[in-house]
């Protein structure tokens, strides 16, 4: 297994969730890669630390799928960067991702919070 393959696997594991997180971040306004990392970290209270090796492939894939658009702009600090913006298609995708996510959380939750009475006895 090369290092590259490990990266890929991590991307796959995260894929559905990471896509949703990125799209959600972009809901608040166009953002560049670094900005997305910072935003996710802040919002999650330093818990979610997105790796660049997952972030950039994901961004490029989302763009290919037409869920985000990118353009090169100057940032407020005069730094040239590539800004990503969510598209209408991307918003629809986010809604469906969110729906799925909620269903999964609910399903996992109902598994996790059932009291295992039988096994205790």
């Amino acid at each position: 297994m090369s290092e590259k393959d490990q990266y890929k696997n991590r991307v796959e594991l995260l894929q559905g969730t990471l896509d949703m997180l990125i799209l959600q971040t972009l809901q608040w306004g166009p953002q560049h890669g670094y900005g997305i990392v910072q935003a996710l970290r802040l919002r999650s209270g330093d818990v979610l630390q997105v790796e660049t090796g997952s972030l950039y492939p994901a961004l490029h894939r989302l763009e290919r799928q037409g869920w985000v658009q990118s353009e090169r702009k100057q940032s407020e600090s005069k730094q040239k960067a590539r800004y990503y913006r969510i598209t209408a298609k991307g918003k629809r995708q986010l809604a469906s991702d969110l729906g799925r996510w909620e269903r999964i959380v609910e399903a996992i939750g109902s598994v996790m919070y059932v009291k295992p009475k039988e096994s205790e006895s």
Binding site: S2, E3, K4, Y7, K8, V11, H32, G33, Y34, G35, Q38, E51, T52, G53, Y56, P57, H60, R61, R64, R72, S75, S77, Q79, K80, A81, R82
Partner: protein, 878 residues
């Protein structure tokens, strides 16, 4: 960007780099803002980002263009590998280029002739040429105008049927008379072919046979360009053809040269432009059978259906006019690529076979290059093993190695392309100066380019696929662990090497055998006695008939010529004829013994020629019975004939032919002599009955024939001068020795043996170097082992035997396989051979011996070298 993904790829790569730079920059700026110091902040930002190239790599993978980049990388790698072994690269590329060029050259000839039978015409695949009577290899024009018109008007399977007849004529009226090839054509000629004029118009339907119409002519493009200086106002002007004024109505496009494949027509007139040929337009037999006919099939109609349709119509015509259609009248249709009218009939019998032989050469070359490739991969086994252990999978390795072969073959294809653009034009070299306006050559169009591309890619795959597959197998650990003497690439590689050598010998044997048979055919043809003198004869055509001289003028001129030439120093005998033997042309006619009732479907065709007194004397053809023609056998005297032995035996078996009568053109001719058989078309022909008529009774063309004392070519200027002294306006052409004219009869044998010989030589060199290479390589691999053997007491002879046996074993198997292969193949060339069987034992034995001896020699050198090694150094060598 979709079409040029590589450009987009470079741009996107750059943008990704910028994006990452921006990221790092911003992370750095943030850290500085938080109070970290410069260098520490930079390092921390970089650490946080991670492995930059890796991020780039996985990001690029999402673009879906990774394979392209990978291909680029593989190609660069392949180029680097090939550059590392220039010897192999140059040798393999050269061999492949030569082999591909052999194929593409022959294919370009096929492409320029058979695949483009009528340049400029629309959809030539729908055109068929019509033949009546027995199928014939070189037929004479088969239809009369009335028969043709009936077929044209009554059929329901053709979109159109055209007819033409062509011959030489002289353009008069200018500063210089010019001899040109003119065609009398049906009015629909250009329409059926689908050709549009560049100037003016073509013929109208009502102009076809109306005798009172103004005579009009369509000029060929090159004639218009050369003789009339591309005059844009030529339409409507009057030009003079054989002293008759004719109005130009149009100019044909540049690429169109006529409806008969391989023959150039310079200008076109209607069937009876002057209204003077009413007889020919209103009869159905004899001299009125003068038209070649081509039809365009209706869409959806097959050749078989059309033939059936025409056969029925012809049957009705025969029933209505039985006396005009004695003999065989069946109609056969041929596609234009093999039409017996024109050059394609001959070429279709020769070129495909040459292409097949060239194909063998390419296979053989692939086997040879594959051997080299395998040896090369074996020597690279360490590198392959390292790459394998670094994670390359087998497919990747194979792809990489095959790509090297493909890169080689692309280079070879490019070289072959450059070579072929020259060799395609060499086809015309085979044809000596002759009296036929031949105009064809190879062509280099998209079909040839596609052919080169496909064959070079296939060859590249073929050369590298097997060796790569084998080499990618190598157990990496063993290879890396033990770089020992025992590894010569494993026994599987050894088997593959042996198989490749056997294949090369087996493939080169049929090549050698074919070329041997062709060469002996050529020698037999050259040595065969044609039955007439060729060496001291000079012939010259005098265009009296085509220059518009009247019959009386012509008669006077002919007698003057004969008188002057007879008196010329160096001339032994002067005579006339209107036909020269062995020039791919002949004249044929139906002939019946008087009172003879032919069976249905019996064709009593004879060849005929009109010859003057002393013709037989000058050609040394002995008169067996009766007499030769005399000057008194002229138009006032009764018609007379001299027949050859074949005709005499056929019509009057067991009787004395003298005094017998033969009906030709419905007129009786009395036989006054019998001459020995001589060759008409080529020495390997089946003898056809020949009748000679008196030149002064029936002669049409005027060809002077003189027997000279010395070299006939030396006398050519004198003969030409003597004729011009009579009339400076007389066109004199095709002045050449008989030997030169009769070369036409063997051009296809020359072509076959020249190419087959060249291909066989290539095959022999490849096979011999192939076996030498493999035996030398294997012997080198066994140096250590041989050293041990010698140290343990093996003699030098033992070593020699060891190595030789190995080579001989391979040679033996190759020869056995090749022999079986060759004997199966020679059937296909049997038709082209003369004086030799397709499995001629002498040729087979000598070819096998030649190949065997050469292989033995190739094995001897490595064996000798192994024998002379010092055992001590040999053992040390690993």
């Amino acid at each position: 960007m979709r079409w040029f993904p590589s450009f987009g790829f470079q741009r996107r790569k750059r943008e990704l780099q910028e994006e990452i730079d921006a990221h790092l920059q911003m992370a750095f700026a943030d850290r500085v803002a938080r109070g970290e110091t410069g260098e520490k902040a930079r390092q921390a930002a970089a650490r946080e980002f991670g492995n930059i190239p890796l991020v780039q790599d996985v990001t690029r993978d999402t673009w879906g263009q990774g394979w392209l980049e990978q291909l680029g990388r593989d190609i660069r790698y392949a180029l680097r590998q090939l550059r590392k072994s220039p010897g192999f690269t140059i040798a393999a590329t050269t061999m492949l280029a030569v082999a591909i060029c052999a194929n593409s050259t022959v294919f370009s000839w096929i492409d320029g002739t058979m695949l483009r039978p009528i340049p400029g015409a629309r959809d030539t695949g729908d055109l068929v040429s019509l033949q009546r009577g027995e199928r014939n290899f070189s037929p004479t024009p088969p239809f009369s105008y009335l028969d043709y018109r009936d077929l044209r008007e009554q059929n329901h399977t053709f979109a159109g049927i055209l007819a033409y007849h062509h011959d030489w004529i002289t353009l008069t009226g200018g500063a210089q008379p010019q001899r040109v090839y003119i065609a009398n054509v049906s009015a629909n000629y250009f329409d059926v072919l689908g050709i549009k004029p560049v100037l003016g118009r073509f013929f109208l339907a009502e102009e076809e046979s109306r005798p009172d119409a103004v005579p009009s002519v369509v000029l060929g493009y090159s004639l218009w360009k050369t003789r009339y200086a591309s005059d844009p106002a030529i339409v409507g002007k009057s030009i003079e053809i054989a002293r008759h004024p004719v109005t130009v109505i149009g100019v044909a496009p540049a690429e169109f040269v006529g409806a008969m494949p391989g023959i150039r027509q310079d200008l076109w007139v209607t069937l009876d432009p002057l209204g003077t040929d009413v007889w020919r337009m209103t009869h159905r037999s004899g001299g009125a059978v003068w038209l070649n006919v081509i039809g365009r099939l209706r869409p959806g109609v097959s050749r078989g259906q059309a033939a059936q349709n025409l056969d029925t119509l012809m049957h009705n015509i025969v029933a209505a006019y039985p006396d005009d259609h004695l003999g065989e009248n069946r109609i056969t249709l041929d596609p234009m690529w093999r039409s017996p009218f024109g050059a394609n009939g001959y070429l279709a019998a020769t070129l495909p076979i040459l292409l097949a032989i060239a194909g063998l050469v390419l296979l053989l070359t692939c086997a040879n290059v594959a051997t080299l490739t395998l040896v090369r991969f074996v020597s690279r086994r360490r590198e392959l093993a390292i790459r394998q252990s670094l994670g390359a999978n087998r497919m990747q390795l194979v792809r990489q190695m095959v790509l090297e072969g493909v890169v080689l073959s692309i280079a070879a294809g490019a070289a072959a392309f450059v070579l072929t653009s020259w060799t395609s034009k060499t086809f015309a070299w085979f044809f000596p100066a002759n009296a036929i306006p031949l105009t064809f050559n190879g062509s280099m169009d998209h079909k040839v380019v596609i052919g080169i591309a496909v064959s070079s890619l296939l060859a590249g795959m073929l050369c590298s696929a097997l060796p790569s597959w084998r080499s990618s197998h190598a157990p990496a650990i063993e290879v890396l662990k033990a770089e020992s003497a025992s590894i010569s690439g494993g026994s599987r590689n050894r088997k593959l090497l042996s198989a490749l050598v056997v294949a090369q010998i087996a493939l080169s044997l049929p090549l050698l055998l074919c070329s041997g048979l062709f060469l002996r055919t050529l020698r037999n043809l050259a040595a065969a006695n044609p039955g007439f003198e060729q060496d001291h004869i000079l012939t010259a055509s005098v265009g009296t008939n085509i220059a518009g001289y009247s019959r009386d003028e012509e008669k006077v001129i002919r007698h003057k010529i004969l008188d002057r030439l007879s008196a010329l120093p160096g001339v032994k005998v002067a005579s006339f004829t209107d036909w020269i033997p062995m020039t791919l042309s002949h004249k044929g006619e139906d002939a019946y013994p008087e009172g003879y009732a032919p069976h249905p479907h019996e064709a009593l065709r004879v060849y005929h020629a009109e010859v003057a007194p002393r013709y037989f004397e000058s050609l040394h053809i002995p008169i067996l019975e009766g007499r030769e023609f005399t000057p008194d056998d002229d138009e006032k005297a009764p018609r007379v004939l001299i027949v050859d032995q074949t005709a005499a035996r056929r019509y009057w078996p067991g009787q004395d032919p003298l005094g017998k009568k033969l009906m030709v053109w419905g007129r009786p001719f009395t036989v006054v002599g019998v001459v020995r058989n001589s060759t008409h078309m080529s020495v390997n022909e089946a003898p056809e009955p020949m009748v000679y008529m008196s030149f002064f009774q029936q002669g049409y063309e005027t060809i002077v024939q003189v027997e000279t004392e010395g070299n006939p070519a030396d006398l050519a200027p004198a003969v030409e001068n003597a004729i011009h002294e009579i009339d400076t306006q007389l066109p004199v052409f095709d002045v050449r020795p008989m030997r030169e004219s009769t070369q036409m009869a063997s051009i296809f044998a020359v072509m076959q043996s020249a190419l087959a010989g060249m291909f066989a030589l290539i095959g022999l060199v490849l096979a011999v170097t192939g076996i030498y290479g493999v035996v030398a390589y294997r012997t080198q691999m066994r140096t250590h082992e041989i050293g041990v053997r010698m140290a343990l007491g093996a003699s030098r002879v033992d070593v020699l035997r060891l190595v030789l046996l190995q080579g001989l074993w391979l040679t033996g198997i190759g020869l056995a396989l090749g022999l079986a292969f060759a004997l199966g193949l020679t059937r296909f060339i049997a038709r082209l051979l003369y004086g030799i069987g397709a499995n001629d034992p002498v040729t087979v034995a000598s070819v096998v011996m030649l190949l065997g001896a050469m292989s033995l020699l190739a094995c001897y050198f490595p064996a000798h070298r192994a024998m002379r090694r010092n055992p001590v150094t040999a053992i040390r060598e690993l």
